[in-house]
């Protein structure tokens, strides 16, 4: 079987700082990582490959430096890596991104065999939209299975897949068909440590670098800023609250007294809570 997994290289948001004066993102020195949500999809893809035999192609769109993310994915054991990179992709919103990626996936399919499953993460940690996966599914006419917690069964002969899908307030059991697109829920598995062999292969293997033309994209008006229906008009820092928290003095007081003082302060500010807590709590 052939599995394509789309990943994204993102800045490690835990280390992002906004410049206090200019209110710009300070990217210098912020390490980039594979979007953490993508690792669950990558691991699931590798497990399926190991169980059913086949190949995993990892794909990303980004600047040339995104090759690092692909090398890491190869290190985990992916068989092939494709970097879709072209200045025409700059400024892509989710619609333009899903267009470019779907074209590239089609090209990957022509070149290396039609994928049975396309994986993405649930969302990215920098954009947080969760839209690119569904966008790819729609464009490639793949059955869409989002927030998948578990692949319960897969029958390659019957082209049938059963999954458990996270939904509001429960788990949906779905039966669907290949080819499909799966966005993998977080916490569903743990990314493997790549083997030494994989590490050696990763260092030696080539990352395929495709321009828009290489990916078979001839309509550049659907790419990048031009192909993006949404426009960012304004970027600004969140407003800060004028006053800081009123501190409850703790010097030379027993914890018990501090607690009583805090509760009094809570009920002074929100008197209605007194009744609510009394009747909900104390169980």
């Amino acid at each position: 079987m052939h599995i394509v997994i789309c990943i994204k290289q993102v800045p490690d948001s835990a280390q992002i700082r906004v410049h206090p004066v200019t209110n710009t993102i300070m990217r210098q020195g912020v390490p980039t990582i594979i979007n953490p949500y993508d690792l669950f999809a990558l691991e699931e893809a590798l497990r399926l490959r190991d169980a059913y035999d086949g190949e995993v192609t990892v794909l990303t769109m980004g600047p040339p430096m995104a090759e690092d993310a692909l090398r890491k994915a190869l290190g985990y054991g992916a068989d092939r890596a494709v970097l879709l990179t072209d200045r025409y992709f700059a400024g892509s919103d989710t619609l333009a991104t899903s267009y470019a990626l779907s074209q590239a996936i089609a090209k990957v399919g022509e070149t290396f065999g039609t994928p049975d499953i396309v994986f993405t993460g649930k969302q990215t940690i920098d954009g947080d939209t969760a839209q690119v996966g569904p966008g790819i599914a729609k464009r490639l006419d793949l059955l869409q299975l989002t927030y998948v917690a578990k692949i319960a069964s897969l029958d390659l002969d019957q082209r049938e897949i059963k999954v458990e899908r996270r939904s509001e307030g429960g788990t949906q059991m779905l039966k669907s068909r290949l080819p499909c697109l799966i966005t993998m829920l977080e916490g569903t598995n743990e990314i493997r440590r790549g083997s030494l062999v994989d590490a050696l292969c990763a260092a030696r293997s080539q990352v395929l670098k495709w321009s828009a033309a290489d990916a078979g994209i001839d309509d550049l008006t659907r790419c990048g800023l031009r192909g993006s229906p949404t426009v960012v008009k304004r970027v600004f820092a969140p407003a800060t609250r004028a006053e800081k928290a009123a501190q409850i003095d703790t010097t030379e007081k027993a914890l018990r007294d501090i607690a009583d003082e805090l509760i009094a302060a809570i009920f002074t500010r929100q008197p209605a809570l007194q009744h609510e807590l009394a009747f909900n709590g104390g169980a």
Partner: protein
């Protein structure tokens, strides 16, 4: 986006700057729609929050607000229709078919896109739930229009465009996004980000019914079953009135019990900050913040949470935020209302004990009388 300055309006770049005029075939797109999320007989409350926002947008634009209900024929959609009117809709569209009983991407996408193409709304809002996000991405891609996810503020610009503001880079910055030359302008909003509007006794308005005529055997994906979350695991964190959460300051997974004890004593839900989920100390559905749940409780107690921007984004709607942290310079004290600089591990048991004393049956009776 790396070098934009605060409060600067960038000249709309590229294509957007060239074609300012809305193409003619989009000019008759009017009115504001809100998708009423009905699943297994329940309307998701985010739909009411969206109706509240949708009402404001429709009034500013001088247009109608419509609710969109997708579901099986018969009685099942009736409560959703009543709710839509009670929370401000002028009219309701229903798309009904037996195969719409359970949510599935294929038929719901078809139902929604057909309705949009037929009735042409200028704005379409959906909740950023698992269902809403699954549907919104497919619908926007089918219609080839813009979709802005997880908005925290919606407004109408002087020229009538939807100005959708959302956090970016984990909440470090906000950006305002427009869908200039395409319709409908689509946006999703996470539960609890917008305030819950007042339910009213407005008279019901028009109901426009459509049938989705797709036979079941054309829909590939089948629902084999549904396993509801067990009562104990069912964290209704987002809609809880009182929330207690723990962060890295608690030092160990075991100490989370202190948070749970306090939560139980005051009838609260418990949660945590992102690092604890990453460490595997608590499950992801208990995470509060930009990548977890947005909460809007009357009281939020944060114990040992430093208050990173991505946490702040998820709790700012709380009426009263109490922060307990050993570090007097922790950013959480910048947005909490009440602060205590102390060790949460030592203080939480004392607070639990004090609450229990205060809320004991004896004192409770005194309160009630």
């Amino acid at each position: 986006m790396s070098t934009v300055n605060r409060e600067t309006t960038r000249p709309a770049a590229g294509r957007a700057g060239i074609k300012k005029e809305l193409p003619a075939h989009f000019k008759d797109y009017r009115h504001v729609w809100v998708f009423i999320e009905l699943e297994r007989g329940q309307v998701h409350p985010v739909s009411f929050e969206l109706l509240g926002e949708g009402r404001k947008l429709a009034d500013k634009l001088g247009v109608e607000l419509a609710g969109v209900v997708i579901g099986p024929p018969g009685e099942a959609t009736r409560p959703a229709v009543a709710d839509a009117f009670a929370y401000g809709a002028d009219l309701v569209y229903i798309v009904e078919a037996p195969l719409l009983a359970d949510y599935r991407n294929e038929p719901f996408t078809k139902a929604m896109t057909d309705l949009v193409v037929t009735h042409k709304p200028e704005i379409l809002l959906l909740g950023a739930t698992t269902l809403g996000r699954d549907l919104a991405g497919s619908v926007a891609t089918t219609l080839l229009t813009g979709l802005t996810a997880d908005c925290t503020e919606l407004d109408v610009d002087t020229d009538g465009s939807l100005a959708a503001t959302r956090p970016t880079f984990g909440g470090s910055l906000l950006c305002t996004i427009y869908t200039l030359n395409y319709r409908p302008q689509m946006a999703t909003v996470r539960p609890r980000v917008m305030p819950m509007p007042q339910r009213t006794d407005r008279p019901a308005g028009r109901v426009i019914r459509h049938k989705l005529s797709v036979p079941e055997d054309e829909i590939v994906t089948k629902v084999l079953g549904f396993l509801p979350d067990s009562q104990s695991a069912n964290a209704n964190l987002a809609y809880a009135d009182v929330v207690v959460a723990g962060g890295l300051g608690l030092g160990s997974a075991e100490n989370l019990q202190l948070v749970k004890n306090l939560a139980r004593a005051i009838g609260a839900e418990h949660g945590c900050s992102r690092p604890l989920v990453q460490k595997g100390w608590m499950s992801a559905d208990r995470q509060i913040g930009q990548t977890g749940k947005t909460i809007r409780p009357k009281l939020y107690i944060a114990a040992g949470i430093s208050g990173a921007i991505q946490h702040r984004v998820g709790v700012e709607g709380a009426d009263l935020i109490v922060a307990i942290n050993t570090d007097p310079n922790a950013p959480i004290f910048d947005f909490a209302h009440l602060g205590i600089v102390t060790d949460a591990i030592r203080f939480l048991p004392a607070l639990t004990e004090a609450f229990t004393r205060r809320l004991s049956p004896h004192n409770r009776d005194k309160l009630a009388s």
